[in-house]
Amino acid sequence: MRFVSKSYVRRAVIVAVVAWAAGAAMVSQASAQTRLLNVSYDPTRELYRDYDAVFTKYWKVKTGQTVTVQQSHGGSGAQARAVIDGLEADVVTLALEADIDAIAAKSGKIAANWRSRLPNNSAPYTSTIVFLVRKGNPKGIKDWDDLVKPGVEVVTPNPKTSGGARWNFLAAWAWARDKFGGDDNKAQAFVKELFGHVPVLDTGARGSTTTFVKRQIGDVLLAWENEAFLALNELGPDKFEIVVPSISITAEPPVALVDENARKHHTTEVAQAYLDYLYSADGQRIAAKHFYRPFKPEFADRADLKRFPKLKLATVADFGGWKAAQPKYFGDSGVFDQIYKPK
């Protein structure tokens, strides 16, 4: 018996070649037009889906060019790592200054002074950290000290990989520092106790939300304010409530142009415009709509602004800025490594 007839072989080869060529054509077609790659962190998916559509229209009207904005999302630290390893981002919109600093330092693809190139330290919107609890708040969570009560399980991502988690960490510290009259040793003891109540550390904010919401693990989710609102919206206000602690922290998720990549792709102009437009009336309105606190509230819808609760906010400057706080708290054998022992 013959293995296979020759015509069969020929047909199979033709099919394979055509399929391959078609696939290759699709891929190369995508790169033929002007494209921007925005490498972002987890909870901004909905924000940038909206913003990209508006920006594309704006750019078409302004210049006649069609631009396609591509998105990549993940834990902020992991995304920074990918850009360092060669992910061809034209712009990065991450959770933390430290993550963009890491790209600047390790790859040299972003100018060291990136922070001063855009208004408000390159943060077009800010956010803060709040608690998401189950409907009816069965454990009676009101403030940070309720999180370390016996039997309370807290869900937060890993501060080593997630930007949001680092803000969680510092927000808890800020509250404890205020509570214990500025005593950092007592604050550290409190944060250590807090992480003793964490059953699972996901790598990114969205993973933690899913753990809390879908897998029903934990009593409290430490979440970005925007992420908490979004979870409430997407999954029903009949299932969860937001609890606002007495003190939290102003989280500034910064944006930056990846100079070297943009130069290589000849997209510097459109990439810069993409970032600038975040500060426009449209950009600010969209940010507020997606539960980010806009840098210029006057551009936002008043109804959107009303949703943001007023609370006392610490800033990262209270911790000496990210340049000092990052290595001290989250670097190798930093404070987090000392206090957290995986169960």
Binding site: F3, M26, T210
Partner: protein, 289 residues
């Protein structure tokens, strides 16, 4: 194996009491239902939660189509490449004797024993911007990591052993008798391979290719590391499922997942068909599955 047993009394081969046997069978069935059937059913019920129209919309959405296209492209490159490699490796190992043969067999198995995440990271270390070849590649505008070539490489690494592992035991069992006969009748080496060796192993080959393809399309870990997760560009189907799930688009996530599940069912069906129809020719490899 049955002819010897057949003339024993018809009583069962085991001595356990009926209740115990029923319990054991029940336990096995319950586990089967709970851990295999239920999740599979769940995938399809969740996928169809928004009705057939919602299902079709979810899998024809541009990003989903791009993911399907990418997955098919990757499989279309990785599977034939690994098929050629698998045939070559199995042929060399089964029909020839050389030094270090067992070492080669161990090497072929390496991807099975390495975590897929590590396989992905290895390529980042080699071809990433900070890796060994990174600066050179970047200077020559060659994209490997976070682009199609990287995904294909990672997939090929992970699915490397499938074809070879199916072919080697069968070919070894068949020995070199047929080939020697062909050669002694004056056939050339290549003709012997084409008309004797390959036909003898064709069903095992098809079986290996099927498994290789299923894994190539379903691979998550290694691909996740090298993909860069750019929507509509470097997202394969498994990655797209995760992304949709993370975006609270649960129905769409399960709709795309159901396509992968269908692929798995199709693979199983063809596998069962092959075993039923050509069981004897697959015997050597069956022993291991």
């Amino acid at each position: 194996m049955s002819s010897e047993r057949r003339h024993r009394p018809v009583a069962s081969a085991t001595t356990e009491s009926t209740p115990l046997r029923v319990t054991l069978i029940a336990v096995a069935l319950v586990f089967f239902a709970l851990f295999l059937l239920l999740p599979l059913l769940l995938v399809f019920t969740e996928a169809l939660r928004a009705g057939l129209a919602g299902y079709v919309k979810a899998i024809t959405e541009p990003d989903a189509l791009a993911a399907i296209r990418l997955t098919l492209t990757v499989a279309a490159i990785a599977v034939p490449a690994n098929m050629i490699f698998g045939i070559a490796a199995a042929w060399a190992i089964a029909k020839f004797d050389f030094k270090g043969k067992s070492f080669v067999i161990t090497l072929i198995d390496l991807p099975f024993s390495v975590s897929p995440v590590i396989s992905g990271l290895v390529y980042v270390l080699l071809f990433g911007a900070q890796g060994y070849f990174g600066p050179w590649l970047s200077a020559h505008n060659v994209e490997i990591i976070f682009a199609l070539p990287g995904i294909v490489l990672a997939t090929m690494f992970v699915t490397f052993p499938f074809v070879a592992r199916e072919l080697i035991p069968l070919m070894q069992q068949q020995g070199t008798g047929d080939e020697e006969a062909a050669l002694s009748l004056g056939a050339s080496g290549f003709k012997t391979f084409l008309y004797v060796t390959l036909p003898n192993a064709k069903w095992a080959l098809l079986y290996g290719v099927l498994l290789c393809n299923a894994r190539a399309m379903g691979e998550f870990g290694a691909v996740a590391v090298v993909s860069g997760k750019i929507r509509g560009v470097t997202n394969t189907m498994p990655l797209h499922v995760e992304i949709l799930y993370n975006e609270y688009a649960f129905t769409a996530a399960f709709a795309v997942a159901s396509l992968l599940a269908l692929l798995a069912l199709f693979t199983l069906a063809v596998k069962a068909l092959l075993e039923w129809r050509y069981g004897d020719q697959l015997a050597a490899s069956n022993g291991r599955h």
